[in-house]
């Protein structure tokens, strides 16, 4: 079971046990992580599960898809290197311990 660490803007870490194949959005919503909303249920259409992936995990997570890339451009306030929609990050054993920073505007 991969662990996911969600870090809010105050630096508070919340650790969640996720199922393999589950998205980082779904794991967050299931565990009530503040700031990850997932309004559209993981359909890459709302942009309310924005996270910043810590640098050491970016290669493992890969680049955003086409539609996700558009939403990050249009809908999120502070797109940076490492910006992803959590619904498009399927969790794997390789990603165990992944650290995701949750942007302030979603909290």
């Amino acid at each position: 079971m991969p662990k996911v660490v969600y870090v809010d803007t105050a630096g508070v870490e919340r650790v969640v046990d996720a199922a393999v194949g589950e998205s980082a959005m779904s794991a967050a919503v299931r565990n009530g992580i503040p700031g990850i909303i997932g309004e559209c249920g993981g359909n890459v259409s709302c942009g309310t599960c924005h996270v910043w992936v810590r640098e050491e995990f970016r290669a493992g997570v890969g680049a955003p898809g086409d539609m996700e890339d558009d939403l990050l451009d249009l809908g999120v306030d502070d797109r940076r290197a490492g910006s992803r929609l959590a619904c498009q990050i399927p969790l794997t054993t390789e990603l165990d311990g992944i650290v995701l920073d949750v942007p302030p505007e979603q909290v």
């Binding site: 559209c40 259409s45 709302c46 539609m67 249009l74």
Partner: protein, 428 residues
């Protein structure tokens, strides 16, 4: 959700705005040809992309589109006299030709050249099909004349109407891209409207109310496909093209004429909706044209002598709650065009997109916004010409087609979405 600054970028089209500069790269419908029916007929006020202009047709049949206001003291030239190959201001008789050149200032000595130094801002105005087109941009970037099939087929095969819509152009356009709403808002019309009823496609529409949407990029814009179940192992696809920046078409039904729209900004809080219907290979029948003129299909009924709909926001669009209750009309409002305009205007003049909640069926809208944004920025920052200018981008059609389940939309409609003279539309 859309960030505030992007909403502003996409919705503002006046002079000097980035989206305004993008629009000023294209030929846009400025009037219907019927608005200037004769030489020396009455001039018409035209507001487009927040510029106030006046259009006239001179004694020699030449079309002029010039600054609405006289260079002398700012009087509207709409009050002017259109005579002897020029538009003469009603105040002091200053006269302008179709290029905006002042040709006579009666108070000044004939020996002087005062008039020669006065010229109004002016734009080309060209009749192609039933539409008078203008180009508001820099002359050195003027593209070839429009190639849209609805203005290139013979006159008896095409019909265009227009109506004033009281909201920003983008929320009107987005209605044309979002084919998901058809299942609900327009559900009452498919069976009864003479311009839609009786196609096999309508059956597929009714039997599968949860279509899957696929959006594919093409050179001039997007192809938005709605996929529904058809016979075993097959899908029914309805494919809506959007061409940059403001052209959409509705997928055809049976052998009915094919229709679509141009969504032209008047200013940031109003737009003209040009609505066309044409058949690629046959004349429209009298019954079809009569139905279109009566406001059926995607057309509407206007207040006589104007292009304002009879059903408008001042009379709550003639809402009929009984018809809504009976289920004859999903929203209780008559006619597809007004069903759309009523709801789009209800969003406010410029909808605040920071508050919206998009779902998966809005993929076409997201993609279109992104294409517009990227094109506007590329033009502003690098001078890159936007998509949709090339004649081949404009030779496009909507399509409805049944494809084997294992065939991709793009592969299946590659030929069907190209306007081919003499070849009928691909339709079910």
């Amino acid at each position: 959700m859309l960030r505030t600054e992007i909403n502003e970028l996409l919705t503002q089209t006046g002079p000097g705005t980035r989206m305004g500069d993008l629009f000023r790269r294209y030929w846009m419908p400025a009037l219907l040809a019927e608005e200037l029916p004769d030489d020396d007929c009455a001039p018409v006020r035209v507001k487009i992309l927040s510029e106030r202009l006046v259009a006239f047709r001179d004694s020699q049949g030449r079309y002029g589109l010039v600054d609405e206001f006289c260079a002398h003291r700012g009087v509207s030239l709409w009050f002017g006299r259109n005579e002897d190959s020029g538009l003469r201001c009603a105040y002091h008789g200053w006269k302008y030709d179709y290029t905006g050149q002042c040709v006579e200032v009666p108070s000044e000595p004939e020996t002087g050249n005062f008039a020669a130094n006065v010229k109004l801002r002016s734009y080309p105005l060209v009749k192609v099909g039933d539409v008078l087109w203008t180009y508001l941009g820099d002359p050195e970037h003027q593209p070839p004349l429009p190639e849209w099939e609805f203005v290139r087929v013979p006159g008896e095969q095409t019909y265009t109407s227009k109506r004033w819509q009281e909201c920003n152009w983008l929320q009107a356009l987005e209605g044309g891209i979002d084919s998901s709403h058809v299942t609900f808002l327009h559900s009452g019309n498919l069976n009864t409207d003479p311009l839609f009823k009786g196609s096999k496609g309508n059956e597929y529409n009714k039997n599968d109310v949860k279509p899957f949407f696929e959006v594919a990029e093409n050179e001039g814009g997007l192809l938005i496909g709605a996929r529904r179940n058809a016979e075993e192992g097959h899908y029914y696809w309805r494919v809506t093209p959007w061409v940059m920046p403001n052209f959409t078409m509705v997928p055809p039904r049976g052998d009915h004429p094919v229709h679509g729209h141009f969504w032209v900004p008047i200013d940031d809080e109003n737009c003209w909706v040009y609505t066309f219907d044409y058949h690629p290979v046959r004349a429209l029948t009298t019954a079809e044209v009569d139905a279109m003129k009566a406001g059926l299909g995607v057309h509407n009924e206007n207040i006589p002598g104007t292009y304002r709909p009879v059903a408008n926001k001042d009379n709550d669009y003639l809402m009929d709650r009984d018809a809504q209750r009976r289920g004859e009309m999903y929203s209780g409002i008559k006619g597809i065009a007004i069903q759309d305009s009523s709801l789009q205007e209800s969003m406010g003049p410029i909808v605040d997109r920071t508050k919206e909640r998009l779902v998966a069926t809005d993929a076409g809208i997201i993609k279109a916004r992104q294409r517009l944004r990227k094109a506007a920025l590329a033009l502003a920052e690098q001078g890159t010409p936007p998509p949709g200018l090339a004649p081949e981008h404009q030779r496009i059609r909507s399509a409805s087609i049944v494809l084997p389940a294992d065939q991709s939309m793009l592969d299946g409609v590659r030929d069907a979405v190209v306007a081919r003279p003499g070849v009928a539309q691909t339709t079910v």
